[in-house]
Symmetry: C2
Subunit: 622 residues, 2 copies
Amino acid sequence: MRGYVRFLVVGLILGLAIPLLIAAVQEKSPAEEIYRGPMERDEYYMFSSGGQSGGVFVIGLPSGRLFMDLPVFEPRAAYSYAGVGMPEREMLEKTGGLWGDTHHPRLSQTGYKADGKWLYIQDKANTRVGKIDLRTFRTVLVKKAPNIQVWHGIALVPDRQGNTRYVCANGEFEAPVPPRPGLPGGYAEQPIPDVGARVPEDWKSGVVCLYADTLEPAFQVLGTYGNFDIMDWSPSGRWLLSNIYNMERGANIDEMIKAPEDATQFLDVWKAEEALGAGQYTLVNGVKVLDPKAIPGLVYLIPAPRNPHGIHCQRLDPRLYGEAALGKDTVCIAAGKIVPRVNIFDISGERPRLVAQPWVGLGPLHVQYDGRGNFYVSLFVDSQIGAYNIDKAIKFPNEPDRYTVDKIDIHYNVGHLSTVMNYSTPRGDWLLSQNKLTKGLPGFIPTGPLEPEVQELIDIRNITADGQGKMRLVYQFPTPPEPHESDFIEAEKLAPLVWTKYSRPYDPDTRFVGPGESRVVRTGPHSVDVYLTTVRSRYGLDEVRVKQGDTVTLYLSNVERLRDMTHGFALQEYGVHFAIDPGDTKKFTFVTDKPGVYWFYCTWFCSALHMEMRARLIVEPV
Amino acid sequence: MRGYVRFLVVGLILGLAIPLLIAAVQEKSPAEEIYRGPMERDEYYMFSSGGQSGGVFVIGLPSGRLFMDLPVFEPRAAYSYAGVGMPEREMLEKTGGLWGDTHHPRLSQTGYKADGKWLYIQDKANTRVGKIDLRTFRTVLVKKAPNIQVWHGIALVPDRQGNTRYVCANGEFEAPVPPRPGLPGGYAEQPIPDVGARVPEDWKSGVVCLYADTLEPAFQVLGTYGNFDIMDWSPSGRWLLSNIYNMERGANIDEMIKAPEDATQFLDVWKAEEALGAGQYTLVNGVKVLDPKAIPGLVYLIPAPRNPHGIHCQRLDPRLYGEAALGKDTVCIAAGKIVPRVNIFDISGERPRLVAQPWVGLGPLHVQYDGRGNFYVSLFVDSQIGAYNIDKAIKFPNEPDRYTVDKIDIHYNVGHLSTVMNYSTPRGDWLLSQNKLTKGLPGFIPTGPLEPEVQELIDIRNITADGQGKMRLVYQFPTPPEPHESDFIEAEKLAPLVWTKYSRPYDPDTRFVGPGESRVVRTGPHSVDVYLTTVRSRYGLDEVRVKQGDTVTLYLSNVERLRDMTHGFALQEYGVHFAIDPGDTKKFTFVTDKPGVYWFYCTWFCSALHMEMRARLIVEPV
């Protein structure tokens, strides 16, 4: 009998062990992959371009949670950014307006690694760039790029130590604005076909690089004809790459797609710096302009597939290739858009070389990497993402079956795609498909004529360095319109940089009003200065009494000592609304043209007695 | 030997069965609860107030995914809403400005059930309400409520069939604006303490009801002194409830919290309709104003806990109580804010009665229900949510242990809370804690002085009708600032109402430009009309040539036949940017004061050849 019991027990243990073993080898369910429980942090913070929303979406990965719709070019009262009378508003109005078309966010780097200090994003429409301080998640500087029209591509070029030095821009549209060069020529590797020529030959665009710290212009390099599209920099910082479409100089879509090839431009930044040092520039609108015609080797044009869109360079994962791989130039790939091919350029030598033109699928738009030897292409027409092995694609460019690793369906249509930390130290774990024109996703109810834009989270951890394995679609999450590309940083790296505990010093440059100093000062027959404090849950005065027709200048100081005790100020009928962070002072001027009693109140929730935080403006009729 | 095998097999089967049995009885993991895989739909669409973001957040539940930041009072270029020169912009500017402080969204009802047709949300700061068409997720109407200052509470009062008839507003702040009644009195159930009186007696506010379809005023009822706060309607539509704080008429926080009690106002809507029918109103600024002093029984004031905040009525779940329970008045509960109690009012009889004042915890702000007999209170100071059984709280108001079902910790501080479909047909499954001033959540990196606001998803399915069971925190997801309250609808009900397949007819009221009709028409020496079409991937003309100083009126028609093929129009330097949906025409007027070549391009991604969709404006110098 004891023998039977023993077998029963052995069977029981085996029976219990089998599901446990299965669970151990099974991959996590998609739900477990993306779920972050209470108190758990996402692994990455993704800075996703906000497109026409004019800012940056700050999204946690892998959860897909939207932490912030960070305003850059469009006002957002919720962050007290660029509201009526606020300083950022003037900055935006002076540089192009209160709207933007943001495209490609990029994080500053130290030693070739994302350092979590600054974020840059350009406004394509108004040819601007915004600089965001990631200690505070606030846009601190917006500048217009000179001498170009419509800033499409962006690149953060590092110095020889891998520290971000320049923010470079592609001007996409050509116009007879200064500079006005002669027709450039002679420096192209191959002659460029001239078809149509509906855009005059002397209409140009070009590349402009600004200093990353001040956003003041460092230098410009004249363009050839055609439209500069996407831009990237080589890891070393030597090459600045721009895809050029419409070498035909066509003025409409039919003319723009006639020629079988366009070009990728390779701009040698180190040579540009030499030329600048040697004074080989001319000043145009205060910008040092270099002419590639006059400086051999400054620019190479290499044919690219017809109307190319994305140009992206490979960075290697230092966890696999060692720290020496940081800043190492290997390959860059241009996507063909109309042609179902990509062009692979070897940039490891003295001059960039076209080494393969493998077939990838229909409508290739963008390229990303996993840092271990594979590239990923968004195929707009196929509504797929393809994964390909770089070495095999170079060795066997005519054998797609050998270099194609996997393809995965996308819902629809894939535009940008982003692998985690593709522009610094690729992690090779997640790939985001950032879809345009989402259609027919039963999970999402349409929210207007357009359905909600969607990002799809794809697991690429199973794709090996030698090009084996499968991609796996794990999650779909919506993004406000319109998702473009993203840059990433590890949450653990970002978290200690953010000003979590700073006690902001009271700003000495403003007319700060200390506790107990609230007052109304008549400065003239029709002008009044009002000094007010805010502290839970009151304004410094219960009542502010002025006369109809007064010009009132309000200085509002937040005298809280707690970092996050922001207060608001909303004054109805006079359209005044802003927030003041602790230690800060805001100034606002308005004319009291309407007599009556107008209560102002705090719009930022500050305590259980938040409702009671108000005071009244009494405008006495004259 | 066969016996041993048999025992081995029995053991094996038992061993396999045990984990399966455990899995079967175990509740789903939080990850599985919230996860919605590719192609899976959320169960509910939550319309969450956007606070200072000036709109409504459309969020899927239980996934917490943000589907849309629906603009109402603040422009959003991404939805082409209220941009420069656009018609909604004028509507906003005329009614108070391009910003809002949205508080309480409410869905229209048919037969006491959310019908998914219209969404209303008020702008507290500028005393406005916006009406959103949920077929298109677009704000179609914004109006200002007359005769009151600062619209805080909102209620959608149904007619006797349970169809939404009025949108009613509480004016929070009192002012000597019309109407100017004498001091109301005599109609309060109890005398109201008069302490401080720093706000003059003849400064008043009141309640205004607008017709839900047109947002034109239906009637107004004069207020007493004090500040109207949150508002709700009784399920039947008979009672309109408003909490009143600061009966002291204090002008600052110290004075406002002196008295031990304030009041809840019960306004009898049916009596108001009778009085209107009998002509017992006076016209003030075109609004029919009723004076409660002159109409006995129109208004009851019943004491409420000191500085009460939330007042919310119970609706019953018709799945448990039958369809007859729809529109049935049972209880309403006022939360005490400073006092750790709530007041329970029985509204099932001819007059509302205070029936219990149970202790709930510190800083009670808002109340919600599960539709099966329990209520939930946000406790701001305790940073908790409490669940309580209504019957037991009435029977044993001094025995918290008997009526308290459960308490759960919140991270921090809970403000509004929302149970799914609390204002129509409560589902009793999920409770959202909509937190203010999030602090110290390690999962969220601060994004500025303020940390990301958070909503917490709490499972209340285990709380039984007789007040047993536990709440379970399942998920935390961020919301752009600042989450207030929410209303809900089943996704399955909403989906077929949305215009998923409509082919919008070409609008005959606009100067629609048909295919092939693009042209430039000079209408005077300094004025030009430009008619342009958009269709993938071109504008109707490659070039628009005008003279410096011309006033250009642009008519842009989208001649696409595909519902979702929206195109954009961005013209740099002139600050022009908008979108046009298929079948639509947009008009924009500007003066060409700067000579040169300005390309305009499509900002809404429309095809793989989207980049090529552009044309040039040539402004000839004079």
